[in-house]
Structures are given as C-alpha cells and as structure tokens.
Amino acid sequence: MLQYIIRRILQFIPVFLGVTIILFTLRAVIPGDPVRMIAGERAIPETTYQMIVQNNHLDQPIYTQYVYYLSDLLHGDLGHSYQKNRSVLDIFAEKLPYSASLALCAILVEIIIGLLVGIISAIKKYSFIDLLLTLSTSILVSMPVFWLGMLLQTFFGVWLKGWTGGALSLPVSGAGGPISAYPPILHYILPAVTLASVSLAFTARIMRSQLLEVMNQDYIRTAFAKGLSKRAVIVKHALKNAMIPVITFIGIDFGTMLSSAILTESVFSWPGIGREIFLAIGQRDWPIVMGGVVLIVIIVMIINLIIDISYALFDPRIRYGKKKAE
C-alpha cells in the first residue's frame, strides 16, 4: 500500500508539469494584454505600462517566463496578482478555507439527502414515493443553480423574515463574521444546499440504480435465503457494494465543488476560489489563474488518491501494491 501511495504521489510531478505547460501555452495563445486590463477603459501611461511589463517579466519569451515561474514556485512563491497587487498565495490562503468548508457542507448535504433518497427509491421501487422522489431529483437536476439560489434567498432571507416579523430567517449572502447578525453556521445553509442541489440528484440516481442492480445479485438472494431481514441484507450486504460508484462520484464532485462553484459563489457572494479564478481568466490575471489551477490539480489528485485507497475499505477484494498470486 505504501509503495502504491508513493508511486501515486510521484505521478503528481509529470501531471503538474503537464498542466503548467498547457497553461503557459494557453496564455501565450489567448489574446488580451494583461497590463492593459489593469487599467480597463482608462489609458495606462506608457511609463507605468513598461514598468508593469518589466516587473512581471512580460517582455521575456514565454519559455523564459515559465522558467521564472517554476523557479518562484520552488521557492514557495505562487506569483503576484497583476490586478490586485497581492501575493497569489495570500489570496488563496484566504479563500481556500471558505471554498473547502462550503464544499464539505455541500458534500454532507449530498451524502445525507442523496443517499437517503436513492436508498428509499430503490427499496420502494415503482411506488408513488419512488415516483415522487425521482420527479423531485429530475427537477433539481434541471433547475439552474443561480435561479435556485435566488429563490432560496428570497424565500428564506426576505419572505420568511417578513412573515415571522424577523423571528425566523436565514442570511441572504456572505460568509458571516462581525458584520453579520447571524451565527456563522447559518451562512452555510443556503449556499451549501444550492451547491449540492445538482449533485445530490445525481447521487440519488446513482445510488438507486446501483442498489437495484446489487439487489438482483445471487449473494443477496443467498442472504435472504439465510433468513436475514431486509434491513440487514441492505445495510450489511447490498449497500457496501452499491457504494463504490457513488463514492467515486462524490469524490470527483468534491473537487468540482471546490473549484467550480462559480455561480453559487457569485449568487451568495461567497469568498471562494472558483469565482476568483473565473474573474482572473477574464482579466488575464495569469498568476491567479496559474496558482488556482495548480492548487486545484494538487487537491484533486490527493482526493483521487484517497478515493482509490477507500475502495479497499468497501471491497476487500481490492488490494494495492501486491502482486497477483501465481
């Protein structure tokens, strides 16, 4: 197992180099002058322009810039934002905890509701409840995230507050802190539900189909034949096997939620990394784009490693790092 983990970690290096080379190639190809973007509609004085170009090595060939980038990276420097005049490391150190905590909350919502709905649907297949849950998840999948977010904001932030004379409500936006009248935990509810909405529906569907498939397996019939209760068969035998694809999906989804929660972060004004990177692309703020992508790649690779290791827990037949018996 240890060997396997080391091998996987070493694989990070070529992946990392590949990603950064692709990004540098893209930044060379994509039109748009990052220095001009700093000033926007206003003209930037030529002297200022040249200073920014030189300070950021933008007058150098792209491969020289890449070498500078790698050199800085080895010194723990992710670069300096053109637009914000701040260290990229500082920016992400500030934002990553917010993205990670929101993604975790959303994953929790996804696991609790998604699995529950999937299991109930599978157990009560073709019943009215199954139909109702399937319909609900279909609606969630097809509902635009920003629209759902705005609906939740209006309902829980404005209407509920009005109906209860201010006694009951949820925060509309933001991550809390001293300026908020709400406890910080409440700030997670609406964005986490919104972020989880689509994935939750997918999780429920995967769970349902996997469970239905497993329930038709011979060993499940054997378990029933042994006289085990339905609950015992599902919990002890069926669920474990049905979980593997679900875990794979949830694991990948965590990485996606961490980096691509752009709409949720925008609607709820959540200070996460997704929107930061999205805006940086438009502004050609390459240090932020590079830093963000590198960070996400590392996180996703770590998550994938954890998922692969976790397979062994769910299916004892899966073992890593051991040679096949002759």
Binding site: P31, G157, S173, R284
Partner: protein, 560 residues
Amino acid sequence: MGKHEITRRNFVAGAAVAGAAAAGAGLLTGCQAGGSANTTTDGGGAASEKKTGGTFEYYINEPAYIDPYNLKESEGTMVSSCLFDSLLSYDYRTQQLVPAAAESYEASADATVFTFHLRRGAKFHNGDPVDATAFKRGWERICNPNISKAPSEISYHLAQIKGYKEMFEDKKATSLAGVKAVDALTLEVTLTAAYADFPYILSHPALGPVPAAAKDFDSFTEAPIGNGPFMIDDTWKHDQYIRLKRFEDYYDQKAYIDGIDFNIVAKVDTAYTEFQAGNLDFAMIPKGQIEAALAAYGESEDGYTSQPGKQTLLGPESSVYYLVINNTDPVMENQKLREAISYAVNRQAICTAIFQDTRVPADGLIPPGIKGYHAGAWAASYYDIEKAKQALAEAGFPNGEGLAPIKLSYNTGGDHESIMQMIQSDLHAIGIEAELEALEWARYLGALAEGKVQIGRLAWVADYPIMENFLYSLFYTNNGDNLSKYSNPEVDKQIMAARGVLDDDARIAAFQKVDELIQSTTPIVPIMFYKHNRVCSERVNDFYFSPNIIPDMVNTWLSA
C-alpha cells in the same frame, strides 16, 4: 483676499468659498474652519434633532484599492473618502471647492505656485500629526515607481508638479522637487506650467496625506491609516467586508453614525435582496426594478439626498457614455458622416428601452453637474432623422448609397450589445448598414488601443469636477485616453491657454469655447449620461451621494 467662515460640514447651507479667483489680487483664497451643525431640516422645513449612533450598512463591490496609493475606481474611492481628507473637497451642491485638510490656499498670479495652509491640530488615526510633510509623503508614495511591484496607475494626477517626470518616469529623483513643506502647516506646490484647475485636482480623494506608518506598504494597503472622519476597524476582509468606525479625534465635525460596514457583495441582485431583507442601508437597484423601487421607497427630491420616504436616488452622475469613432479611419474621417451618425441615434429610446430612464440622453460631452455644462452644447447630439439623412447626403452617401457597411464594435457583457443593436437599427433607418462586432473585454481593449476599432463604445467618468478633465483627456493630441485619435492643433493650443486662466468663470468660458470647437466636427457621438440607481433604507437621513459617487457620511444619521 477674503476669508470665509464656513466648514465643509455645513456647506449645505449654501455658503461659498473662495475657490474662485480674487482676480484683482491674482490670488485664490480658501477659507477658515468654523463650528459644527447639530440640527437638520426635514422636508417640511422643520428643524429636528439628529440622532447619533448606529452602523450604516453600505453595499459595495470588491474594491481594487482602498489605499490612496492607487485609488482608481469608484468602490475603493467610496471607502477611502471616509478614511482620508485631501487638502480640499468639492461640494457639488454649491459647485464650489471647500476646505478639508487645508483651511486656505493661495495661487500665484501665473497659476504655477500654490500654497496651502493646513489646519492646526489635525491628527491621523494613529495619533500622528497631519502636517505638510504628510502630504508630501503621500504624493511621493504615489510617484515612487519602486515602492511596490505594481506602480501606481494614478500618478497622472500629479503629473503637473515640478519633478514628477524626474521621479516617476526617469526614476532619477527620490522626491518631488515641486512639493515643499515650508513649515509644519504650509505646503507649497510648484507646477511645470500654468494650471489654474490644480486645486480641483487636489480635491481627489487619492491625494490625501499618509503617516510615516505607510512605509510598510503591504499592511498599509490592507488597513490604511488616514486623517478622515472614519478609521478602519480591523483590516479589509477581501470579498467580504471593510469595517470603519468613527474617528473620535477628527479635526472637524464628527460623524453622527458610529461606523460604516462596507458589505462587499458580488452581485447587484444579491445586494438588493439583502437590502429588501433589511440587512443593508444602501444598495444599487438592479435593472428592471427601478419602477418598483420608486413605488416602494419614494424618490429623492434632488436625486442625491436620501430622507425617509424619499429614498431612491436617480440624480445624474459626472460621466458620459459615447461612441468612440476612429477619426483616422479612411471612412470615418468624413466629418459629415460622423454627424449623420450622431443625428441618427435615438438616445431617448436607448435610455428608456434598455435602462428604464436610469440614463439620460447626452446633449453634449460635459455632463450636468460639471461647471460649464449647458444644454444642447453639441449641435448634432440629438435625434433628428431628417438632419441625419441630409448630413449623410452631404457626406457623399445619399441614402447610404456607395457606403460600405461600417463596423460597430463593443465588449460583450453589460448592455452594450443591446445598445449597439438599437444603434444599428437607427443607422439602418437612414441607409447606413452596420455590422456588429462583439469582442471579449480583453480583446476589445486591445483593439481600441491598436486603432482597430472603426466605431466602438466607451465611457468617461470624471476624476475631478472640471471641464478640462473631459476635454484634455479625450481630445488632446496623442493623449492616452484620446482613443478617437482626434487631433486639432487649435484645440490643443486653446486647452493649454485655458489652463492658465485664473478666474473660474473666465476659465470655464474658455473651455466652453474649446468644447464648441471640438463639437463642430463631431469627433465622437455622446450617447447618454449616467444616473444614480441607488436606494437607501428608511432609517437613513441626510445621506448625500454626489454625482461623482462619493457619499457624505459625516452628515448622515440613522433614525433607529
């Protein structure tokens, strides 16, 4: 030279200061600090006691900077204007310069040397004295190209000062030769050429003083220490909030409110929902909700001041949206063609259909609110389809015959596409065929700078409330912001001459002549002036939001 008893806090009363010239003496005079007001007049004319206390919940988007070092956009300027006082301030209500950190100033007869007398006893938020050196330090910080990895983009405010070139451009000097702290309370500024509008430039919030603590650039940028009526509480929480609290040792009238929470909200719609939920005192109204806001919150009487029941602010701003035309383009160098385009655009239809009248048709380049504005300043800046057709015929293209399709370029996002589509339709009505070119923002800026745009769109927001800021910036030959590539030696000469006219009225008249000269050839097509689209909560009283998007937070008070 006369002295005028007034404070910047009671200028609502309408007293004027001598920012205007004492022409006979060749001197400009400021004014003396005085007492403070504690009563207000409500809409009915009755005086009522202002209440102290409470925190004002203010909506902004994430600022670029709140440090004067690079105060280049509205969001940061709103915050910084509460943290810092420049030498002077501009009161849009009386259209006069009023004292801020300086109680008076004088100008030399040739408008090249300005001497400012600072208020005694003023302090920074950390207790340091606000002296002439602090201003010199602040300005040199802006002009120091080596102080940070990103040189300030706003050093151009100080480009008229002697020694600017040597310090910022040539990097040979470490200080501004033209800025001299004569003594603790006297600051003398020498310019390279006559520039009578210079005091107006110094009203810009970026040109405040900084204490010695500003040496630590990174920490100062995150939590600036100023001399204004509010001080920062904690540091700037990016994309979340900036908290300010009242500065109790402020040299002038203290604020009524205890503090301001600048709530950084990513989307206007979200901020408005927060406002409707009662969590914000000030927000921007999303497009399409103006009528509902007016019905729910009432309209401000002057468009800038919010009182309970009259909370929707729709006053014109100091900014203009215009079609930038490449005057060197082989087709667009035809003056009559530009004129035809200007007459053909139905500005009112754009303002109504797209912006629900939260924009006002531009009848010239200079917006209302800027001294020197007069209605109908640009002859061709109104909708007249017959004149458009006539001008088109005079251009050599009767009914558009013989004219190849022109290209209307714009950046994607915002409402630019809708605007350009309406203009395309207007041009079609007189026989001009136009193709639309939508470019991503980065590509659009590049195309503009490289002169690849035949007709595009741009906006200009005034840095200072003076005509010169529009005319020089947009039309002086080879100036960076002159993206229409307009060049007229006579205009250049007249701009330079007008800069040296000390008397305010005479100088404005001189700039109006320049404006008249420019408009006679329609180098650009003004489309509309921006208007506020903001709203305050019912508990907000006496909140004034100026045409250049700066709030007066000192006189604002909260009912409950």
